[in-house]
């Protein structure tokens, strides 16, 4: 019990760490093997569909990257609007942010595509999907940016005004460079969220990774052989981002 709660006085030895990792890897692999070896089935059959899988993976990356750019733009504009002294703009931004953050993404995808996009005769699923995902993520990014902007002290604004900068110049030369450096770790984390959230676009028939995996699964009747690689493909994208985020966090901490 004590080993569970007590914090170590000094870091564990290198060999102990490697041995633990190795032993756990063997243990968990065996556990998986006994659990799934009878049901895993048709790896060979699924292998025939590897191109579909790869295309889905590339589309997931493409959609996520496009959504990242667009949602950053939306997030920055919403964060500025949220602080505007022009009330209609400020309230619109607050309404947008609070509404989106209160909705599950799946509701937004369904309502956005079958409700709004269809009414507008916007039939291109991919672009509609990117916009819906960006609107969703943009609300969270605007909160990240807003927290960053609010962390810039009053003296910085005073100094900027005192030397004669305009508000736009103050944002450009003083506020955003500092906000960016601070917000980069949470923004990288948000990118990881976008990649994971893009899987929900499968419900409106965008042939991204999850959709492709589902199609292959129903064509080959082998679920685990499809969904296990599916998970690994997401991890291949999100784990490096997570490591990068940790590295960024460390760097920001050292600088300040």
């Amino acid at each position: 019990m004590e080993a569970f709660f007590e914090r170590p006085q000094k870091p564990a030895r290198a060999w102990a760490r490697w041995l633990t990792v190795f032993a756990l890897a063997v243990l968990y692999s065996l556990a998986c093997w006994f659990a799934f070896s009878t049901t895993a089935g048709n790896w060979g059959l699924v292998w025939n569909y590897r191109v579909t899988f790869l295309n889905g993976w590339l589309l997931t990356i493409g959609v996520s990257a496009a959504a990242l750019v667009l949602s950053t733009l939306i997030g920055v504009l919403a964060a500025i609007a949220r602080r505007s002294s022009f009330l209609p703009l400020r309230y619109s931004a607050a309404f947008y942010i609070e509404t989106i953050r209160g909705l599950p993404l799946i509701v937004l995808v369904l309502a956005g595509f079958y409700g709004v996009a269809n009414a507008l005769h916007w039939d291109d699923r991919i672009s509609a999907g990117i916009v819906i995902l960006s609107l969703f993520s943009g609300a969270y990014i605007s909160e990240i940016i807003r927290a960053g902007v609010e962390s810039i002290g009053r003296t910085q604004w005073d100094s900027a005004r005192a030397i004669g900068l305009t508000t736009v110049q103050t944002y450009r030369f003083v506020v955003f460079p500092q906000v960016l450096r601070q917000s980069l770790p949470p923004l990288a984390g948000q990118f990881s969220s976008i990649i994971k959230d893009s899987s929900l676009l499968s419900i409106i028939g965008i042939t991204e990774l999850t959709f492709s995996a589902q199609q292959i699964a129903s064509a080959t009747y082998s679920t685990l052989a499809c969904y296990l690689p599916l998970g690994i493909c997401y991890l291949l994208l999100t784990v490096p981002i997570s490591l990068w985020t940790k590295w960024l966090e460390k760097r920001v901490r050292f600088e300040s």
Binding site: S159, A162, G164, F173, R181, E255, S256
Partner: protein, 243 residues
């Protein structure tokens, strides 16, 4: 330099910081604003800097009234230098870039011209070795000297300093006060809010006592400290000179 205040008032919410202040003073070089904390010194300096707008009354500097619209104030602010207590510098820029920024983007200098001028000013304050460092790598005293250099580089009409040493330890305070004293030679008028009474006494041509939202007394440095006429100033000086 001449400063005229007419019936100047400023409140923040229900706190009346300045209450109908009237003043007409002319001085050659240094005006020191002294007085108890919360008495209105810093607020008065912010009004003089064009960073805040008075609720009523007017300010004339060298005969010209300070406007009240943000665009008029911005033009006014361009021509003066302001140094705050701390955190004046932009932490993501080097000392040199801090000085260059207003030269290029506010005063329209070409980048080579701006750099030459910025290096000259930093050199004058013995900061050449630190020009490539970011504020986080500088000591508090060095940071305030860079801030003074940035304020001076634009060739302002006058300088406003709001307790520039109050966040520093005694050694660094001396280092910054040396620089401020040296500014006397440059001939730029300066208005200084300070708690350093010894410094105010020795360098200020004129000392104004700001307390309770008013200016009950002002006068030449020596006379102000030797023979204050108002009871408020006497009480204040007794209290702070006790130790």
């Amino acid at each position: 330099m001449r400063i005229e205040l007419h019936n100047l008032s400023k409140s923040f919410g229900t706190t009346h910081v300045l209450v109908g202040v009237n003043l007409d003073i002319t001085f050659d070089h240094t005006l020191a604003l002294v007085g108890p904390s919360g008495g209105g010194k810093s607020t008065l300096l912010r009004l003089l800097a064009g960073l805040d707008v008075p609720d009523s009354g007017s300010i004339r500097v060298d005969g010209v009234e300070i406007g009240s619209s943000e665009s008029a104030l911005r033009i006014y602010r361009r021509e003066i230098g302001v140094v705050f207590q701390a955190y004046n510098l932009f932490p993501h820029l080097t000392a040199l870039q801090n000085v260059i920024l207003p030269l290029i983007h506010v005063h329209g200098l070409a980048s080579e011209q701006a750099e030459t001028r910025a290096r000259a000013v930093l050199n004058r304050f013995q900061l050449s070795d630190h020009s490539g460092k970011q504020p986080g790598q500088l000591s508090g005293g060095q940071r305030q000297r860079v801030a003074i250099a940035r304020a001076l580089a634009i060739d302002p009409k006058f300088l406003l300093l709001d307790e520039p040493t109050s966040a520093l330890d005694p050694e660094m305070t001396a280092e910054v006060l040396d620089v401020i004293a040296e500014l006397r030679e440059s001939g730029k008028p300066l208005v200084l809010v300070t708690h350093e009474m010894g410094f105010a006494r020795h360098t200020a041509d004129l000392v104004a006592f700001v307390a309770g939202g008013k200016i009950p007394e002002h006068g030449p440095g020596e006379a102000f400290f030797e023979s204050p006429s108002s009871p408020e100033v006497r009480r204040f000086l007794e209290k702070i000179l006790k130790y």
